[in-house]
């Protein structure tokens, strides 16, 4: 795929204050390990040859979710124009893991970074028709201005980091 959406993705992420970490399947674990603040929760990653560091709890209790500092999940797509990731929640718990921890680490394959909303909605529509029950287009951390000033981190994560698997 052309590198253009990736460059746009990176600059969009920078604009919204989200770090992008580039890595490969092989180096994933060693890249991720120092970035995972424990306690950490996660969901199994669907990318071939990519595994979560041991410190990440993949069968969390409610209390684990509540206290987690890091939540690692795969995300279905990245959206270059907006710096968004699409969290597709399923039985493994991507939704709660990406939502409760202080920081969401979103792992996306380079080949899943799409240029714009048009392209994403074509895919999302197809996914829904094939039975994907839930997709959240998440852009940056949760936020609120309801308390008189803008605050990063409302009910959801305060921080988001995107890990890009360049060879997937």
């Amino acid at each position: 795929m052309s590198t253009e959406p990736l460059a746009t993705f990176e600059s969009s992420l920078t604009e919204i204050g989200v770090d992008l970490v580039r890595t490969t399947a092989e180096e994933f674990e060693s890249t991720l390990a120092p970035r995972v603040d424990t306690p950490a929760v996660g969901t199994p990653l669907p990318f071939e040859g990519v595994a979560l560091p041991d410190a990440v709890e993949t069968d969390p209790t409610v209390a684990d979710l509540e206290t987690a500092r890091t939540g690692v999940t795969a995300v279905g797509y990245g959206i270059a124009d907006y710096g968004s990731v699409v969290v597709q929640g399923g039985p493994a718990g991507e939704e709660p893991v990406s939502l409760y921890a202080d920081e969401h680490v979103a792992v996306v394959a380079a080949s899943d970074v799409l240029p714009d909303m048009d392209a994403v909605f074509d895919r999302l529509a197809a996914d829904v028709r094939e039975g994907t029950g839930q997709a959240v287009i998440a852009t940056g951390p949760s936020a609120t201005a309801d308390m008189g000033a803008l605050v990063r981190g409302a009910h959801g994560p305060m921080d988001v980091t995107v890990v890009l698997l360049e060879d997937r």
Partner: protein, 740 residues
């Protein structure tokens, strides 16, 4: 309206200006500026709006079919759909589903509309609002003042005081961050304890039964994820045909609303989902909420109920004028771009549930005309919202139509005081104040005929006090002074100074009622400026455009005026002459409102053939006329306020360009409206709001950079407002070009 009613209204507005005005102003300004910036980043903003509009038009057209399709899709997924006729019906259903269990809710204006919280609580359920603004209002027992940011009227200090008083935390809460953390923790426990999650829906797709929720805090996600039972309430109009149709809305809604390119979360739920749940809430009594060692449960048994609410919407669909309201995606752009709303907020500019410009349509359709009548007059028809609406609803028109209906709904006799002054087409019960302002043409004609006596009488204390009591004309406003010789009379006596044969162009200069009877000097300047550019000018005796009655909701009278104007101008138009208009609000009638008032071909002829005077001068200069024929600005420093309706028509740049070409140094204002808005600022119940809005403009013209500048403004109202609020006397920009 009685004198007491006017006083009560004025007091209410004054109270809100004092208590909530500052917070509302500060916050809406951020949203408003954000929207301009964020939409400017889009390459295809107009195309996206067209696309969104087309999707909504189609969806509302096919609504019964789409409701059926959505129902089939959701039932096939294992959910339930209930179409509720009205609020009671919806609440009965939701109460049955909830059955006294603990409920956590995300923000939903539709749930405010049906007041479901009260119904659930009466049935023994605990209901917690988890959206932080809604939580603040729940604690404060207040109503939303804005459809997107419901607690926009509260400052951080007020929220901190509220929390400290109600929750008495060990350490006093102060910063927005501390308040947010506290609320997150407090509500986090409520979410863990809950068995039912309630949400609204911004969109529902008929093809797949998918809900789209536009949020930022993450609470809606939590309400759905944590609980076994999801109840979504949504107006029937929220249905769009396909998932793909969501794309333009996703790109527009955040930008149009809070000025964000996109909100943090755009959730697409196709329930029931299969995310693990927290199962049954542990209940708040057993002390397990902290250190909760429950394992997550399978989401296979999730229950989903979509409650689609009619509550007047299907009738709105049949109503040719209210139908457009159903296209509304509740983004709040019309509120944020509205000068009156920015200053007074939704507690004045709103009905039982909804607030802002489009609320008139919603309230009239859902709660009835009386609810709309409470605030409908706060729309001045300035039209600033028109280009901001992502689905291109003609919001001023909806306000005008509903105002007309309210006028017609009132009983009453012709009032002897104004009967002679008001040869209009309106019913007897029409408010005397509206009738007076709606017939400005007649008033001005008489005022001119009897000037200067009429001016002198009108200035006396007795006359002003009678006018205030009987007509609601605020005694603090200076009244317009009528000229004895009208512009038409002056021109008839003077004649054209340019030979029609050799003229560059031939024009009919439209003598709007103000220019004709009150501010004749700008008409005379326009004649001289056009003639100095070799244009042959004629000033036909065309009457008032209909703007005055239109703004009072007197549509039939406006139509009669429009027909008369067309008749007066049509010979010139037929002869291929251009129509030049000085007053932007009248030009906006020709270009916009006549679409509603005249046959299509007549409207098209006037729309195509009419120009704002500075736009016309610009065109002449672009086509070979020489600026040397005009007065030389010679670097004169000028502060220019473009008229609201002129800016909606994107005509402001012409004035700016012409003035700069002529050597003036121009600074411009960026407020949405001067606040005078024709008759609005004269009305005793709105005088203080009008001045409050005007002060924002006056502030921009009293800065270090602008305080010494010559003030010019295109609109009559703007000139009056600026004249009242500044010590410098403002003028129409065409007078700067007048060499005389």
């Amino acid at each position: 309206m009685s004198v007491n009613d006017r006083q009560r209204k004025a007091e209410r507005i004054r109270h809100l200006l004092d208590t909530e005005g500052d917070s509302v102003h500060e916050n809406t300004r951020v949203f408003n500026e954000g929207r301009y910036e964020s939409t400017a980043d889009l390459d295809d903003y107009e195309a996206l709006k067209d696309e969104a509009r087309a999707i909504k038009e189609d969806a509302i057209e096919r609504l019964p079919e789409l409701i059926e399709q959505a129902t089939e899709a959701i039932e096939a997924n294992g959910g339930t759909v209930y179409v509720a006729e009205d609020a009671d019906d919806a609440n009965r259903y939701v109460t049955e589903v909830v059955d006294g269990r603990n409920v956590v809710k995300s923000k939903s204006m539709t749930s405010e509309e049906i007041e479901v919280n009260g119904a659930l609580e009466a049935d023994g359920a605990n209901v917690w609002e988890t959206d932080l603004a809604e939580f603040v209002l729940q604690i404060a027992e207040e109503a939303p003042s804005h459809i997107v940011a419901p607690a926009i009227h509260k400052s951080r200090e007020e929220i901190a005081d509220l929390f400290n008083e109600v929750f008495d935390p060990e350490e006093r809460l102060e910063t927005a961050e501390e308040l947010t953390r506290f609320a997150r923790e407090y509500l986090g426990e409520k979410i863990l304890d809950a068995e039912v999650g309630m949400t609204g829906a911004n969109f529902v797709t008929a093809d797949t039964g998918t809900l789209a929720l536009v949020t930022s805090e993450g609470n809606a996600r939590k309400c759905v994820q944590a609980t076994d039972t999801h109840v979504a309430v949504a107006g029937v109009e929220k249905i769009v045909p396909r998932v793909e149709d969501l794309q333009p809305f996703v790109e527009l809604i955040g930008r149009s609303g809070t000025g964000q390119d996109i909100t943090s979360y755009l959730s697409l739920f196709t329930p029931p989902g299969d995310s693990p749940t927290f199962g049954d809430g542990v209940g708040s009594d057993d002390g397990l909420t902290s250190g909760d060692d429950r394992a997550l449960e399978s989401g296979d048994d999730r229950e989903f109920h979509l409650v689609l609410i009619d509550n007047g919407r299907m009738a709105m669909r049949e109503d040719d004028d209210l139908r457009e309201t159903l296209y509304c995606i509740r983004c709040s752009a019309c509120a944020n771009s509205c000068a009156n709303f920015q200053h007074v907020g939704g507690h004045a500019f709103g009905g039982e549930t909804y607030s802002g410009g489009i609320a008139t349509g919603w309230e009239a359709g859902i709660h009835g005309q009386d609810s709309a009548a409470e605030f409908n007059d706060l729309c001045t028809g300035c039209s600033r919202c028109v280009n901001q609406c992502p689905v291109k609803i003609d919001i001023p028109w909806i306000n005008t139509v509903v105002r007309d209906r309210i006028n017609r709904g009132a009983d009453g006799e012709f009032d002897f005081l104004v009967e002679g002054l008001t040869p209009d087409e309106e019913p007897g019960g029409l408010d005397i104040q509206k009738r007076l302002f709606g017939n400005f043409d007649t008033l001005a004609r008489l005022g001119s005929a009897f000037a200067p006596l009429s001016n002198r009488i009108a200035r006396t204390g007795t006359a002003r006090s009678v006018m205030e009591r009987t007509l609601g004309v605020d005694a603090r406003r200076e009244l317009p002074e009528f000229e004895r010789e009208s512009l038409v009379e002056w021109f008839t006596a003077r004649g054209s100074r340019v030979d029609p044969e050799g003229a560059r162009r031939r024009v009919a200069l439209y003598p709007d009622a103000y220019t004709n009877y009150v501010r004749t000097e700008r008409g005379k300047a326009a004649v001289r400026v056009l003639e100095s550019l070799d244009v042959h000018v004629d000033v036909p005796a065309a009457g008032e455009s209909g703007r005055a009655p239109f703004s009072q909701g007197m549509v039939a009278t406006a139509r009669a005026n429009a027909e008369a104007v067309y008749e007066a101008l049509s010979p010139a138009v037929a002869a291929g002459r251009d129509v030049v208009v000085i007053e932007p609000s009248d030009l906006a009638m020709f270009r916009r409102e006549y679409d509603r008032l005249l046959p299509e071909d007549e409207y098209a002829a006037l729309r195509e053939g009419s120009y704002e005077v500075m736009e016309y001068v610009y065109g002449l200069l672009e086509n070979g006329a020489d600026t040397d024929a005009l007065a030389d600005g010679n670097g004169e420093r000028v502060a220019y306020h473009g008229h609201c309706q002129q800016r909606t028509l994107d005509l402001e740049p012409y004035t700016l360009a012409v003035l700069e070409d002529c050597g003036f140094d121009v600074a411009t204002s960026d407020v949405e409206c001067c606040g005078m808005a024709g008759s609005f600022g004269y009305k005793s119940e709105y005088y203080e709001l009008s001045v409050d809005v005007g002060e924002s403009l006056a502030e921009q013209f009293t800065t270090d950079d602008t305080a010494d500048r010559t003030v010019v403004a295109s609109g009559t109202s703007c000139l009056e407002q600026l004249d009242a609020l500044l010590t410098r006397r403002p003028a129409h920009p065409v007078r700067l070009l007048d060499g005389r």
